[in-house]
């Protein structure tokens, strides 16, 4: 079980309120991702749930019982830190066993669980090494191993992949997702990378300046962003925003069109512009279009084989059914 409920939780550091009153429910077994730009309070929120920081007011319930004043270790949560926070003077085996030793489990049980975790995480051959002798990915797995042996009510991940190189990051992303499938335990995952959020989450919580901008499944956020911030944050390349006359035609202050929802053509379209930089990814090509009279640059995602060149004047057609409309306050118009 691992249902976590935050009720009007606030956090202030001195006079600075980093989290204004916030309510959030994380259901049992859900993979929830907190995403937002750096400094948005997502890590603080995670640390409040972990109990590493005191909340200023409000309450936190875990599985229906008040955990607000329960110390971190007694909340039944396990955390994987950004720096992995492995104990450098202990072997992998001892690192993974540490929480079990602290819980005063008997040695046979400790060995059984450590061996189990090690085989799940492919660490069996490394059990007698020290963290210093491991690669980044292996360290990451040790940190996860230390978390899973406790069989916690929920896992907390604080930007766990940000110290890994790009290739490894993709691999670990899959491993964590698989782990979630297998354990079906609640996981809360903090990241600033919307790709991680989109690919892993059951539920995404988008945060800005300590405020929840939107909560929903990845596709909900993609399809119906509640405001300009979410619209701009979720999706890559970024959504194009157009203001002024063109927006008024749609009865909005701002309209948003995703790059993948604009068709390009040589001779017919709604808008036109001049091709600037093209980024060829092979499968896709991103064109940055200037002189459209709509916005400084319009980004378009086209098929990889589309072959316009720098300086070509081309025609653009947005898909009418997926134009997002926002009012003057930046809120979505349905």
């Amino acid at each position: 079980m691992g249902r976590i409920q935050l009720k009007s939780v606030t956090k202030s550091f001195g006079d600075v309120e980093v989290i204004p009153p916030l309510d959030l429910t994380i259901e049992d077994g859900e993979f929830t991702v907190f995403v937002g730009p750096s400094g948005c309070g997502k890590s603080t929120l995670l640390r409040l749930i972990a109990g590493l920081e005191d909340i200023t007011s409000g309450s936190i319930e875990i599985d229906g019982s008040d955990a607000t004043d329960v110390p971190p270790a007694k909340r039944g949560l396990a955390m994987v830190f950004q720096s992995y926070a492995l104990y450098p003077h202990m072997t992998v085996r001892k690192n993974i066993a540490f929480p079990l030793r602290m819980a005063k489990l008997d040695q046979a049980e400790i060995d059984r669980r450590v061996e189990g975790a090690a085989s799940v995480l492919n660490l069996t051959d490394y059990l007698d090494r020290r963290p210093g002798q491991l690669s980044g990915g292996q360290r990451q797995r040790v940190a996860i191993g230390r978390a899973i042996v406790r069989e916690p009510a929920a896992f907390l991940f604080d930007e766990p992949l940000s110290n890994l190189d790009a290739a490894l990051r993709v691999g670990m992303r899959l491993e964590i997702s698989e782990l979630h499938e297998r354990l079906a335990t609640t996981m809360i995952y903090v990241t600033h990378d919307q790709v991680e959020a989109m690919t892993m989450a059951d539920k995404i919580v988008v945060l800005q300046a300590g405020v929840i901008e939107q909560v929903g499944s990845p596709l909900e956020l993609y399809r119906t962003p509640r405001n300009l911030f979410v619209a701009g944050f979720i999706g890559s390349p970024r959504m194009n925003f157009i203001e002024g006359e063109e927006a008024e035609k749609h009865g909005a202050h701002t309209i948003g069109v995703r790059p993948e929802h604009i068709a390009v053509s040589e001779n017919e379209g709604t808008w036109n512009g001049v091709v600037g930089v093209s980024e060829h990814l092979g499968s896709d090509t991103f064109f940055h279009i200037h002189e459209t009279g709509l916005a400084e640059t319009i980004t378009v995602r086209a098929d990889g084989e589309v072959g316009f060149r720098h300086g070509d004047r081309i025609q653009l057609t947005p898909r009418a059914d997926v134009i997002h409309r926002f009012d003057a306050k930046g809120l979505r118009i349905e």
């Binding site: 110390p71 971190p72 270790a73 007694k74 955390m79 830190f81 926070a85 104990y87 003077h89 602290m102």
Partner: protein, 276 residues
């Protein structure tokens, strides 16, 4: 990338550096050599470098005549006691400042440092007077306290810089893993801090061993350590070069050996972490 250097250049560097190094080391070498000569050989003209009859008689004489062991013992007690006491007081303080920093932490650290800058001579008489009143003059206990106090800022600072290198996330991880404060200190902090504490102990032992203002001014006979013992050679016994050398060698040898182990920590300890 380090650049490959020609062998010729490297040979030149080596020769020059060794020459300079030996020149700087020479007074110590000469003292050690002289300690094995007879008094006559020690003042022979021209001076004898290695071509003399090595003898241990000076060491025997120094030990017999001046109760050397008592001075040595005093040095050990004073340097060891003040360092130990200092570390006991400083470890919790440095731990708190490194892991639970507050807005005032920096001010407290700098203030501690400022007490180290207090010139000893400025407070010589008050301390002297207090020592007389409290019956501490010429006692090892009194010196242990004074040397502990003058080195306490350095001890706190060094420990602080070492502790700060222990990532806070590791301690949080331990807390999440269910370690109590006691267990956190026992299983995580102490093993990770031991190298830093050892270096701190080493450097401060050296500093206390060599301290020569308070040890000279606050001792007479009973508590006098090696610094005072050597100072007593200033005249006229100092003219017995071989015995002076033997006494000096005995006073500095243990510290030279310890010092070689602590050269890396020296920089950190004496610059308060400002140069790393």
């Amino acid at each position: 990338m380090a650049r490959a250097v020609t062998t010729r250049r490297k040979s030149f560097n080596t020769a020059l550096a060794w020459a300079v190094g030996l020149l700087i080391f020479f007074p110590i070498l000469w003292t050690i050599l002289t300690s094995f000569k007879t008094e006559a050989q020690a003042i022979a003209s021209p001076p004898l470098f290695l071509n003399f009859n090595w003898t241990l008689e000076n060491y025997a004489i120094v030990q017999e005549r001046s109760d050397y062991m008592r001075f040595l013992w005093n040095s050990v007690i004073i340097a060891g006691g003040s360092t130990l006491l200092g570390v006991i007081v400083a470890v919790p303080a440095a731990w708190a400042m490194a892991f639970v920093p507050s807005k005032r932490t920096k001010d407290i650290l700098l203030w501690m440092l400022s007490t180290k800058m207090l010139p000893a001579v400025g407070v010589l008489y008050p301390i002297y007077l207090l020592f007389i009143r409290l019956g501490l003059l010429d006692t090892r206990g009194g010196l242990v306290v004074v040397l502990m106090l003058i080195n306490l800022p350095i001890i706190v600072w060094m420990l602080y810089t070492y502790f700060r290198e222990i990532p806070g996330e590791i301690l949080e991880a331990a807390r999440m893993d269910g370690a109590t404060l006691k267990e956190e200190i026992l299983h995580i902090l102490t093993p990770m801090a031991v190298p830093g504490i050892a270096s701190t102990v080493l450097l401060n032992f050296i500093l206390a061993w060599n301290e020569a203002f308070w040890t000279l001014n606050l001792t007479a006979v009973d508590a006098a350590p090696l610094t005072a013992f050597i100072a007593s050679y200033s005249s006229p016994e100092g003219l017995f070069f071989a015995k002076l050398s033997a006494a000096s060698t005995m006073a500095i040898a243990p510290i030279l050996i310890l010092g070689w182990f602590s050269q890396k920590q020296l920089v950190r300890g004496l610059t308060f972490g400002a140069v790393k």
